[in-house]
Amino acid sequence: MPAHALFREEDIRFDVDVDPLIAALREVLPEEGLIVHEEGRRAYECDGLSAYKQLPLLVAVPETIEQVQQVLKLCHEAGVPVVTRGSGTSLSGGSLPHPQGLLLAMGKFNRIREIDAEKRIAKVEPGVRNLAITEAASAYGLYYAPDPSSQIACSIGGNVGENAGGVHCLKYGLTVHNVLAVEMITIEGERTTIGSEALDTPGYDLLALLHGSEGMLGVIVEVTVKLLPHPLTKQVLMASFADVESGGHAVASIIARGIIPGGLEMMDGAAIQAAEDFVQAGYDTDAAAILICELDGSEAEVADQMQAVKECMTDHGATRIQVAADDEEKARFWAGRKAAFPAVGRISPDYYCMDGTIPRKQLAYVLRRISELSEAQGLETVNVFHAGDGNLHPLILFDGNQPGQLDAAETLGSQILQLCVEVGGTVTGEHGVGVEKINEMCVQFASAEIEQFHAVKNAFDPAGLLNPGKAIPTLNRCAEFGRLHVHNGELPHPELERL
């Protein structure tokens, strides 16, 4: 179990009378749609952040939008917390169940309702897997751009909830840039359409607000996404560097030349070695860092850009440059990067994946500090980096069976996130806050900001029933966490007693 308590007293303040709730839910759900027995509920006790486990009070598996509405209406009337879950791949515990709450499993919402190739949109149910959209669209020469590394499993509803990213974000944007509309059910059980097939909709940008709101504002039952035409051509280049700093300078110079690559990834020496041992992608294991750069577009455009990128790499001391000759080689160059997490899983009994974003110019400093902090905790860290957009994934290696190592990994993780904030970045680029980084939110935000977040939540869900205890810390939690946001040398949350 994790070192810090998952839920605080104020997060588990609910008083739920379970028997009448079960009776009422049986009325609105199909026979298989309500899971009461412990062994059935056990299957939902954790998501992708498996160190955190919590048995839900009940699990509902609705099959229709009307059933979702009725379930929410009942929970709202009875004051029962609701945690929505898609594929359960969250890396931050976003869909970790609530001990007094209902887990709303959206897995049956797995149909692609419509692909309109003329309008280049797809209307899909929230449980549809990210990759399934691209697979279905490819018959029309189209694809869905955001591609988180869990895309084979993660669902589009969860992608909206977390504002998922991927390796192509710098050029093609995050989930928020690729979704046109959602159907949302409020905690009261009402249904409304947010956004439209048109590019602009009147009023506040509720669509943007829902992205990354971690299931705390409403339940999404349909998503309309934008599709893009397949690029006519792609080229992949891999360059080796003798130090991380030179790789960072090469990235800056590519951007200074006016090029926004489709993908631009960096791996450090330890990550290169782990990936090479795992998939034999032909990576240069003598390099301290490699950059993988993907360019896409028309033949003419890609040819121009490839020339410029090669020059940037050479100018910044690349020790080796390889351009993939064919599709097979492109896939091989990417294979090592895509398999980086499982590769690390082979060399360490456990690993803990962090998700900070930093200004890219701070990369060399941040990596040096991570290495120092790791050493102080007696742990090793392997780094993969979405170099184009500054999103850093340090993987902390540890052995959960060794006493004290999980604690050390969590301490190191927290130190790394605070380091990201110190250099002007954020505690989470694309994995979300969930329960995992809720304490570190106190470092990034001052109390007025945290209170403003609670006010936003309150505007949608005054009783605080949707995903309680996630994403936004209470001020009491921040006071207890002790490592508070310091702004202009003033201690924040002055209204709270120091414990």
């Binding site: 003329e118 506040y204 990354g212 974003t357 954020t426």
Partner: protein, 360 residues
Amino acid sequence: MAAADQSEALAAQVRAAAESGTALHIIGGNTKAFYGNPTEGEPLETLGHRGIVNYEPTELVLTARAGTPLGEIEAALAEQGQALAFEPPSFGEHSSIGGVIAAGLSGPSRPYAGSARDMVLGLRLLNGKGEIMRFGGEVMKNVAGYDVSRLNVGALGTLGVILEVSLKVLPAPAVSATMKFDMPVAECHRQSESWLRAGRPLSALLHDGKALYARFSGTHSAIADATEQLSGEVIEQPAADALWASVRNHTHTFFKDRSMPVWRASLPPGSDLEQILPGDERLVEWSGQQLWLKSEAPAAQLRAEAAAAGGSITRFYGDNPETEGVFQPLDAIQTRLHRSLKQAFDPKGIFNPGRLYPGL
């Protein structure tokens, strides 16, 4: 005017107004006073709160105070070969970045390069209690906390005073070419799709009722290839630049005569641009997804037709009859959510009351 940080003075004015319950009318460059519903209140002027706070070309981010003139920002970007990819319209030389973001309007490149809200990475906001808060940041990916930054784009200042904004900036295209095609307006969508699927770097599309104009922006080889392969007539660069600037900034002939109300319809791709919505004169942008329409038809009729087509319509220019707002009304649920959000940010209701919708 020199760069100056006036956030504390602005916060003090907001706190005083909140205490006395005085409405505030937020004014930047005052170039978009016509836009939205009329609002009344003591002026809160942001134009003196100005200056580029941070610009890191290779990090693709620029942070500026609200009163910074759009022109100053664009000049700083141009020096480094960069630009605001969403081509915000400017309706006067004093147009400020705070107003650009509060209005949330985007120019000709919007469907191909992204919108104002797409480019917002973070902002510093003054809420209705006079608290200065920072949301988002200066990095490309950031999912810590709710996306309050993008929520404020297009909110017309009704949720707070934007003090500072951080924007994703992008390289300006190496070269652009504009071509004129003798095609009917009905072809806008189909033609644009066929170019995009052929990898043509389309960056703007206009139909003025007589001809279709397309702009392609990208690398030298890609643009040379487009002008060689496509059948349209290449427009000389100065004339082409003037054309797009006139559409972007509403100095085009279409916008000169405003004796009739001018409406802006946002429509799904592939809408029937010849038949949809009754009106006299029309100008089509965004591959057919933005329609400017001069029409005397009743608002209710236009709104019903736009909604039935899956879009919405805004009365952009023209006096607003007192009984109707300029924006398409929201459903009951979203009206309630809008009012709760207003309450969450501006509990005394002092910011630009009624400018977006009644009760906000």
